[in-house]
């Protein structure tokens, strides 16, 4: 598609439950990024993928968070045993691969985000 599509728009979970968020990147984009935005503050980078391979996971919490990008499927971000502090808007972004550069330097295009509310 022409836009990054994130689902669901809003997800409500009780503390301790699992939450799974989905992201379909723009068609033809090779890179997918996940960010967490808490209370309209800065974006915190979580993880990025180049196609189905993890590209950079330096921002991912060591526990409870996992992510995948499988061929012919939306990418997903899963949080096990959610905590109140996981409440945030989770944004997905995708970018096109710049074939003239070793690493992509194309702008990232963002989806509308999934608002995760942990009660």
């Amino acid at each position: 598609g022409e836009e990054v599509a994130q689902t669901p728009k809003h997800l409500v979970r009780g503390e301790g439950q699992k939450a799974k968020l989905y992201c379909a990147p723009i068609k033809g984009h090779s890179y997918v990024f996940w960010y967490q935005q808490v209370l309209k503050n800065e974006f915190k980078f979580l993880i990025s993928f180049q196609n189905e391979n993890v590209f950079d996971e330096t921002g991912m919490p060591k526990e409870r968070f996992s992510a995948k990008c499988l061929p012919n499927s939306p990418c997903s971000l899963e949080i096990q045993a959610t905590k109140l502090e996981d409440s945030a808007v989770y944004f997905c972004a995708s970018s096109h691969r710049d074939r003239t550069a070793r690493y992509s330097n194309q702008p990232q295009h963002f989806g509308d985000g999934t608002r995760l509310s942990i009660l």
Partner: protein, 116 residues
């Protein structure tokens, strides 16, 4: 520690005013600086700046990067109520030694309110 600082954090102007938003950065292995406009949902891409001194322009918006002084500005002329939004500045990292590659570090944003 890599960081991006935006100022002011909040700005209220009247329609027709010209505004300048500031972004300074301290990052290792800087690659590019990006500006986004965030209204209710998705940040919308505005500009990507890689080289110093080259102004990028789109309608009433323009931006420039100074890699020596490590800052960028975003100018909006003849502001309209539709320009009301949070403007985000993000620095893109590129660590050739295998560290963080390609993700953005954002500032806290400047909340611009344009009154009729």
């Amino acid at each position: 520690e890599d960081k991006v600082v935006q100022s002011p954090l909040s700005l209220v102007v009247h329609e027709g005013d010209t505004v300048t938003l500031n972004c300074s950065y301290e990052v290792t292995n800087f690659r590019s600086l990006l500006w986004y406009k965030q209204e209710k949902k998705a940040p919308t891409f505005l500009f990507m700046l890689t080289s110093s001194g080259i102004e990028k322009k789109s309608g009433r918006l323009s931006s420039i990067l100074d890699k020596k002084e490590l800052f960028s500005i975003l100018n909006i002329t003849a502001t309209q109520t539709g320009d009301s939004a949070i403007y985000l500045c993000g620095s893109r990292l590129d660590n050739i030694y295998g560290g963080s590659q390609g993700n953005l570090i954002f500032g806290k944003g400047t909340k611009l309110s344009v009154k009729p």
